[in-house]
C-alpha cells in the first residue's frame, strides 16, 4: 500500500497530475449543473411575471368594458 502511493519515488508527480485532473473533471460538470439550475429558476420567475402581467392586462380590459357598460345604462 505504501509502495503504491510512493509510485517509485514519483508519487508527488503522479498523484499531483491525477488529483488536479480529477478535480477539474468533477468541477466542470458541477459548475454546469449549478448554472443550469440558476438559469431554470430565473426563466421560471420571468415566466411568472409575464403571466401575471397578461392576467392583469386581461383584468383591466374586463374592468374597462364593465365601466363602459355601466355608463351606457
Amino acid at each position: 500500500m505504501q509502495d503504491f502511493f510512493a509510485m517509485g519515488g514519483y508519487g508527488f508527480y503522479v498523484w499531483g497530475s491525477m488529483i488536479v485532473t480529477a478535480v477539474l473533471m468533477l468541477l466542470e460538470p458541477l459548475l454546469l449543473r449549478r448554472r443550469r439550475q440558476q438559469l431554470l429558476r430565473r426563466i421560471g420567475r420571468s415566466g411568472d411575471r409575464a403571466r401575471m402581467r397578461s392576467q392583469r392586462r386581461q383584468q383591466q380590459m374586463d374592468n374597462s368594458t364593465k365601466v363602459s357598460h355601466e355608463t351606457q345604462t
Binding site: G8, T21, M25, E28, R36
Partner: protein, 247 residues
C-alpha cells in the same frame, strides 16, 4: 432508414434529444474511467526507462489529444455557423470552448509534472509546449470574444473567424515533435509505425481516450442545453418548460 437531420439542427428539437443522450454518455464515461484507471494503476507494467512516472501518460496524452480535437471540432462548428448561419452550430462551438480550454490546462499541468522528474524542468520553451500554450490562449481569446459582444449573432461571427484562423495551430502542435528538435518525446501512437509500448499500456491509453471523449460529449451536450435555454428564454416553449419544472 432516413433521418431528417435538419429537424435536429433546430434548438427546439435538439434540446430534448441532448437531454436524453447525456445520461448515456455520463454512464459510459464512468465505466470506462473505472476500467482505465484500474488498468493504468494495477495492471500496466512499470516502464523500464521512466519507472512509475510514465503513468502520468494515461491522463496527459488523452487530455492533450482532446485539447486538439476539440479545437478542430469547435472550428468546424464555428465555420458551419458562419457559412450557413445556423444558430445551433454556433452554440455548439461556444459550448465546446470551455471544455477544450480545461483539457489544455490539464495537458500543460500534467506535462509540467511529468517534465520535472524526466527533464529536470517544469517548463521549457520548446515547440510542442509553446504551441500548446498558444492553443490555451486561442481558447481563452475565443471565450472572451464571445463574452465581450452582446449580440449573439455578431459574437458567433467574430468567434468563428478567430476559431478558423487559429485552427492552423493544431497541425503545428501535432507535427512539432517531427518538424523541430524538441525536448518533448515523439508521438506515443502514430499511424505509420507499430506501437512502441506494451499492449496493456496501449489498451489503457485508448480506453482513457474514449472516456475523455464521452466525458466531453456529455459535458458539451449539457452546456449547449444551457446555451439554448439562455438564448431562447423569451420563447414560449422555454417558459412552458420551466413552469413545468416548478410545478
Amino acid at each position: 432508414m432516413s433521418i431528417n437531420w435538419f429537424k435536429y439542427s433546430s434548438p427546439v428539437s435538439f434540446y430534448p434529444l441532448a437531454g436524453r443522450l447525456m445520461p448515456w454518455f455520463t454512464g459510459v464515461t464512468l465505466i470506462l474511467m473505472a476500467i482505465g484507471l484500474y488498468l493504468g494503476f494495477f495492471v500496466a507494467p512499470t516502464d523500464y526507462q521512466q519507472g512509475e512516472a510514465y503513468r502520468i501518460m494515461f491522463v496527459h496524452v488523452p487530455a492533450a489529444w482532446m485539447s486538439m480535437f476539440i479545437y478542430l471540432v469547435m472550428a468546424a462548428y464555428a465555420g458551419l455557423g458562419l457559412a450557413f448561419n445556423t444558430r445551433l452550430s454556433s452554440m455548439m462551438a461556444k459550448a465546446l470552448a470551455p471544455t477544450g480550454a480545461m483539457f489544455t490546462v490539464v495537458a500543460l499541468w500534467t506535462g509540467a509534472l511529468w517534465g520535472k522528474p524526466m527533464w529536470g524542468a517544469w517548463w521549457v520553451w520548446d515547440a510542442r509546449l509553446t504551441s500548446e500554450l498558444i492553443l490555451l490562449f486561442l481558447y481563452l481569446g475565443f471565450m472572451s470574444l464571445q463574452a465581450a459582444i452582446d449580440d449573439p449573432r455578431r459574437a458567433a461571427r467574430a468567434g468563428a473567424v478567430l476559431a478558423l484562423v487559429g485552427a492552423v495551430n493544431v497541425p503545428i502542435i501535432y507535427f512539432s515533435v517531427k518538424w523541430w528538435n524538441t525536448l518533448h518525446q515523439g508521438a506515443s501512437i502514430s499511424f505509420d509505425k507499430a506501437p512502441s509500448m506494451a499492449t496493456t499500456m496501449l489498451v489503457t491509453l485508448l480506453i482513457m481516450s474514449v472516456a475523455f471523449w464521452t466525458y466531453t460529449i456529455a459535458v458539451v451536450l449539457q452546456r449547449v442545453r444551457c446555451e439554448i435555454l439562455e438564448r431562447e428564454r423569451h420563447s414560449d416553449w422555454v417558459i412552458a418548460l420551466t413552469q413545468e419544472k416548478q410545478a
